[in-house]
């Protein structure tokens, strides 16, 4: 035990950390240092081991080799609460909120405000309200968390970590569901924390975010540290090269497309609100042509996700007309939708996208089982071939295709969800945040794939909170505001500013407001 730490000793020092799951080695001899007041980016491809390193730091994984030291004192956490006691707060990649419990209870989980062991609900609500205000969350502290949109949940997760008053704040892809406005709000908070001497570890696959906040960058590849440099010596291209081991062109521009006849036609389509009376989507009409990518812009609560779910037959009580390839279709269940050639990649892979305990192969073929069975009997060989094909095309990183999807890294899970829908060879592809949590290399591959699918004649309806992605991929962007289409922008008109302005409801700013597909 050192009495006083040497003054130059870093806030956090990770030395020689290794970790394996069974005989799969995930981290090998990793060193990492974090200084007070520093925003330190941890980058790497999907499955590189970033979250694993973070989980060691958070006291989640306790069996690892190597050492951790905080302010010169060696620590070895046995559970997450010990990490919190040592001033480490973590926002995990997978949300760790308790769905049925209220916002206030979630905020104070593990350290409730009590007197004689009894929870002081009034006090908790009061404190919660302050944190909600801080993060611009417009919700009552007694609302159950599961009723919140994912983006709100993610911001709540941030509030929860901030409220711990930590010395070390770790954020594992905290913005994967946030829109530009919300991200900017977070960065302001990060700046304040940095100024207050908090050390921040930030994991992200978004290069613009990295450029915006990085003081220092460390890159992992295949569980090894390949580089660590001050931000000034690590431009985006360099980081990507470290990550991938080769050069990847970052800027993506879609091939010029020539959309032909309408494939998906929607008129006067309304979707009831999931939370009470009223409509989440109000008489929306739009059409997507063969080979066209139509982006759907809008802020949280605009109803974009509901529109996609409604079109896919996942919500009861929708009204309106839908036609595919000129044929009116009646879609009253996802099953019917799939038969009509629709596919929906949902925004939340964990709750509605994947069956976590099932294997990669089984998830891949789940939506197209008829094609993989004869008289109901499955054909495992064929399934395997299909899974292998997608895994190669999407560069899936997994120890084996028999592995349960739940054991994959976040980005790789997303790839499996995509693979499932590709396997159905859809005519109309509905994508809700298709690259959430996906690394740059893979993201680029997905962009190229989307491009190729469009070229092959699919009609694609795309939701993305990542503005560059939305702008780069979409031939047109319809912007929703409170369930109505407020404007439609073509490629030339669309820019971050025009989309955002429309999303906030300012019709006046957009000259083409009246034009509709």
């Amino acid at each position: 035990m050192q009495a006083t730490p040497p003054t130059d000793c870093p806030l956090l020092k990770v030395s020689g950390v290794s970790k394996s799951f069974g005989h799969v080695s995930v981290l090998r001899d990793v060193d990492f240092e974090l200084a007070a007041g520093e925003a330190h980016i941890l980058a790497g491809e999907n499955g590189a081991g970033k979250s694993t390193l973070i989980k060691i730091l958070a006291g989640v994984h306790t069996d690892y080799q190597g050492r951790l030291a905080i302010e010169g004192h060696e620590v070895r956490f046995r559970d997450p609460s010990e990490a919190v006691e040592h001033g480490v707060a973590v926002i995990h990649q997978e949300l760790s909120l308790i769905g049925p419990m209220s916002i206030a209870d979630n905020l104070f989980l593990g350290r409730p405000q009590t007197s004689c062991g009894f929870v002081r609900d009034g006090r908790q609500r009061e404190l919660a309200r302050e944190w909600l205000r801080e993060l611009d969350i417009d919700a009552d502290p007694s609302t159950p968390v599961e009723a919140l949109a994912i983006s709100t949940q993610q911001r709540l997760e941030i509030a929860k970590a901030l409220s711990l008053d930590a010395k070390i704040l770790v954020m594992d892809e905290p913005t994967s569901s946030l829109n530009a406005h919300e991200v900017e709000k977070l960065f302001k908070l990060i700046d304040e924390l940095r100024a207050a001497g908090v050390g921040i570890i930030y994991i992200s696959h978004k290069m613009d975010e990295i450029e915006r906040i990085a003081d220092r960058v460390t890159v992992l590849r295949d569980g090894r540290r390949v580089a660590s440099a001050p931000a000034s010596e690590a431009p985006a291209e360099k980081i990507i090269e470290w990550m991938v081991g080769r050069e990847v062109e970052q800027q993506f521009s879609a091939t010029a497309r020539s959309p032909s006849e309408p494939r998906l036609e929607v008129s006067e389509f309304s979707v009831p609100s999931p939370s009470g009376p009223g409509l989440a989507v109000d008489a929306v009409s739009l059409s997507v042509r063969r080979g066209e990518v139509v982006g759907v812009g809008g802020l949280q609560g605009s109803g974009a996700s509901e529109l996609l779910l409604g079109l896919f037959g996942a919500t009861a009580g929708c009204r309106g007309r839908v036609a595919v390839d000129g044929q009116p279709v009646e879609v009253r269940s996802p099953r019917q939708a799939i038969r009509q050639g629709l596919a929906l990649l949902t925004a939340d892979r964990k709750t509605s996208g994947l069956v976590l305990p099932m294997s990669i192969t089984a998830n891949t073929t789940l939506a197209s089982l008829p094609a993989f069975s004869m008289a109901g009997w499955l054909r495992p060989r064929r399934e395997l071939v299909a899974a292998e094909r997608h895994s190669e095309a999407l560069r899936l990183r997994a120890a084996s295709l028999d592995m349960p999807v739940g054991a994959l890294s976040g980005g790789n899970q997303q790839k499996v969800a995509l693979a499932k829908w590709l396997e159905t060879a859809p005519r109309v592809l509905l994508l809700d945040e298709p690259t959430r949590g996906v690394d740059v290399g893979a993201k680029r591959e997905i962009y190229e794939l989307i491009d190729r699918w469009a070229e092959a004649g699919m009609a694609i309806l795309l939701i993305s909170t990542e503005m560059p992605e939305l702008l780069a991929l979409s031939d047109r962007i319809v912007v929703l505001h409170r369930g109505r289409i407020i404007t439609t922008l073509d490629r030339a008109e669309a820019s971050a500013e025009t989309v955002l302005a429309a999303a906030m409801g300012s019709e006046a700013l957009t000259p083409t407001a009246a034009i509709d597909a």
């Binding site: 958070a58 989640v60 559970d79 997450p80 609460s81 919190v84 973590v90 995990h92 949300l95 760790s96 909120l97 308790i98 769905g99 049925p100 419990m101 209870d105 979630n106 989980l109 593990g110 350290r111 409730p112 009590t114 062991g117 009894f118 929870v119 599961e146 009723a147 929860k160």
Partner: protein, 337 residues
């Protein structure tokens, strides 16, 4: 806008009826309606019938209180019926054979129950055996122990002597007190004991930090752990409390039977679980509450009583029970979100 208020009222009424509590009340209402319709020549309208109905459901109710805590964590406690028997045997030995004072017998009974719960809790939370198996093991173990301690017979006021004869002793005053009626004979003491248990369970579940942790563990154990909830310790507590409440139930059972029967409480765990679930609490954990359980206890308790006062033959009774249970919960959809 005064013309809106009836509309609003209807909406409110609808919301209440569709809420979990509203649905549980509906289920109970349906059962009581059956009672009114088949009132066994007016027997259903006598206060004594209700006093007895409440007394009869009390022991099950105590088990259901503990079960609610465990189910909230996403677990299950199959051992409660056997723990009841074990405590009944032990308390009878202490109170009848050894003539110990109530000040010793009551706390020790609760403690024995809690110790069994501790066993189940440690095996399930710490050794990570599935709760179903861990408590099933405790269920057979406690039953065996009860039989062993009772020496294969009931522990009653006929105390076997060394020479093979029996000496008859008095029923201990503790037992008489528990089996008495209070408030002018209108309420059985065990009913009040049950209400006290329900109050304790309510306070723990809805007002205490521990209860909050039960919900968190049942809602998402991994997230709870990440948030610093001492998952193992809190889970163990849920089983300890369930065991302690089964201990209280065992004491009440022995008092009413005036003996400790090692075969007592067989199958009670299923009834207790059914009471919790029929209230609307999901076995998945993380949702529900004591209010719902109270309604569930009343629903099953009254169903049983109504069939009994009408002297419905057992085959018919079983069939009717099945049908009425389904009818009663039909409005309760499995919670999606």
């Amino acid at each position: 806008m005064p013309d809106q208020s009836p509309h609003k009222l209807v909406a409110t009424a609808k919301a209440v009826l569709l809420s979990p509590v509203g649905r549980a009340v509906l289920a109970l209402g349906l059962v009581l309606l059956v009672g009114v319709a088949f009132n066994a020549d007016g027997a259903f309208f006598k206060t004594g019938t209700h006093r007895d109905a409440l007394r009869q459901m009390s022991v099950y109710g105590m088990l259901a209180c503990g079960m609610t805590l465990v189910i909230t964590t996403g677990g299950i406690d199959l051992a409660v019926g056997s723990v009841l028997a074990l405590v009944a045997v032990c308390s009878a030995t202490m109170a009848i054979h050894w003539e110990w004072s109530a000040w010793l017998v009551v706390p020790l009974s609760v403690l024995i129950g809690a110790a069994c719960g501790l066993g189940s809790g440690v095996v399930t939370a710490w050794l990570r055996v599935q709760p179903f198996i861990a408590t099933l093991a405790m269920m057979v173990f406690a039953r065996g122990l009860a039989k062993q301690l009772a020496g294969g017979m009931k522990v009653s006021t006929a105390v076997p002597q060394a020479d093979g004869t029996y000496q008859y002793v008095d029923v201990p005053s503790l037992y008489r007190a528990i089996d008495a009626r209070l408030l002018g004979g209108h309420v059985s003491t065990v009913t009040l004991v049950f209400l006290a248990c329900a109050a304790v369970a309510y306070l723990v579940l809805s007002r205490h930090r521990l209860g909050r942790e039960f919900y968190a563990i049942g809602g998402n154990a991994e997230a709870a752990r990440l948030s610093g909830v001492p998952v193992v310790r809190s889970t163990v507590w849920a089983y300890v409390l369930s065991g302690a409440l089964a201990g209280v139930a065992g004491l009440c059972q022995a008092s009413q039977e005036q003996q400790g029967d090692p075969e007592a409480g067989a199958g009670y765990e299923l009834t207790a679980i059914a009471m919790v679930v029929i209230g609307g609490t999901s076995l998945m954990g993380g949702r529900g509450g004591m209010g719902l359980t109270l309604l569930g206890v009343l629903t099953i308790g009254y169903l049983d009583k109504i069939l009994s006062i009408n002297a419905v033959p057992s085959a018919t009774r079983l069939m009717l029970t099945g049908v009425i249970i389904v009818a009663a919960v039909l409005t309760q959809k499995r919670g999606r979100y």
